[in-house]
């Protein structure tokens, strides 16, 4: 069978094509992008200690003298590690007179978490230990008992605090 193609035959398909061709574009309206974030954290420590600990003159009869001090130990500690705070000091001297007071006559007490009581020494003595990163506030009482045998003078030394972090 033969068909004759006329303009009438083109109306429907042409309208169909025009309708779909002119249809609004169905476009994507979404875009995403990703970024990586990286934070580097290294082990480190920092101490805040009193600039001085002063024991004023007192009668040996009065007994032990106490000076309260505050210490802050800040540390970032690797998992499984322990940060350790130690102290040491040379014996106290009165300058040029040649008199001295041994460091071991000074001690401290504390009830702060991680801190421990001890006696000052020429070699390192542990004052605190912690297994977690963070800020450790310590309240300590330094204790010194004057003796009638101490010669008159102004005695001093320097206490060395060392905070080690793994």
């Amino acid at each position: 069978m033969n068909y004759r193609l006329t303009a009438r035959h083109l109306i429907v398909p042409s309208l169909f094509a025009a309708f779909w061709s002119a249809a609004p574009a169905v476009a994507s309206s979404l875009d995403t992008q990703s970024s990586s974030l990286t934070v580097s954290v290294l082990a480190r420590g920092e101490l805040v200690v009193p600039a001085s600990i002063d024991f004023p003159d007192a009668s040996p009869t009065a007994g032990a003298q106490t000076v309260p001090v505050s210490i802050v130990a800040k540390a970032r500690i690797a998992k499984g590690g322990t940060a350790t705070l130690t102290v040491s000091a040379a014996d106290l001297s009165d300058g040029g007179a040649g008199d001295s007071i041994t460091a071991s006559r000074f001690s401290w007490t504390t009830s702060s978490a991680g801190y421990q009581a001890g006696t000052l020494s020429n070699s390192a003595v542990t004052m605190g230990q912690w297994g977690n990163s963070g800020v450790q506030n310590g309240s300590l009482n330094w204790i010194f008992t004057p003796q009638w045998t101490d010669n008159v003078g102004s005695y001093s030394t320097t206490i060395n605090y060392t905070l080690s972090t793994p």
């Binding site: 193609l5 398909p13 309206s29 992008q33 990703s34 970024s35 990286t38």
Partner: protein
């Protein structure tokens, strides 16, 4: 015209129309970042309590064209910052924004956070990321991923 020729003609018209419909149009919205890597160097928390990202400022370019009338840009983190079993909460990272239609905020892993919203057009925002530093972070290299989503509703 023979019937077979007529059928081919009609099928061709239909194919042409379908091609017009299925042709992929250009995406009317697009998002560009000046960097896809953001790093925070180690710093002493007492000396640098807020650590700026090494890549600051991060430029964000939003293009919303075509039939788009508005856009929304949001960001979400896949997780907290992690280094093995150790974590840093993702909300320790925040950003400040400059540029019309952009806003400041804190990162979150649970809900999308708005970075900006505006009308049709091209816009550039400048973001500066920062990390709240702390002594309580254990040593390590912490990582995570954030994903920006730009949508034209």
């Amino acid at each position: 015209m023979k019937r077979s020729t007529f059928v081919i003609y009609i099928v061709s018209l239909l194919a042409f129309s379908l091609a017009a419909v299925t042709k992929a149009p250009a995406n009317p919205v697009s998002l560009q970042l000046s960097t896809t890597t953001i790093t925070f160097p180690d710093s002493n928390p007492d000396q640098v309590p807020i650590i700026p990202a090494a890549q600051n400022p991060v430029t964000v370019t939003v293009r919303a064209e075509g039939t788009t009338t508005s856009w929304i840009l949001e960001v979400i983190a896949t997780d907290d910052l992690r280094s093995g079993a150790d974590t840093i909460p993702i909300d320790a990272i925040s950003w400040t924004a400059n540029g019309a239609y952009f806003q400041s905020g804190d990162l979150s892993k649970s809900s999308m956070q708005a970075v900006g919203a505006g009308p049709k057009g091209n816009f550039t925002g400048v973001l500066s990321f920062q990390l709240a530093n702390s002594w309580f972070y254990d040593p390590g290299i912490y990582t995570t991923t954030i994903t920006y989503t730009l949508v034209a509703p």
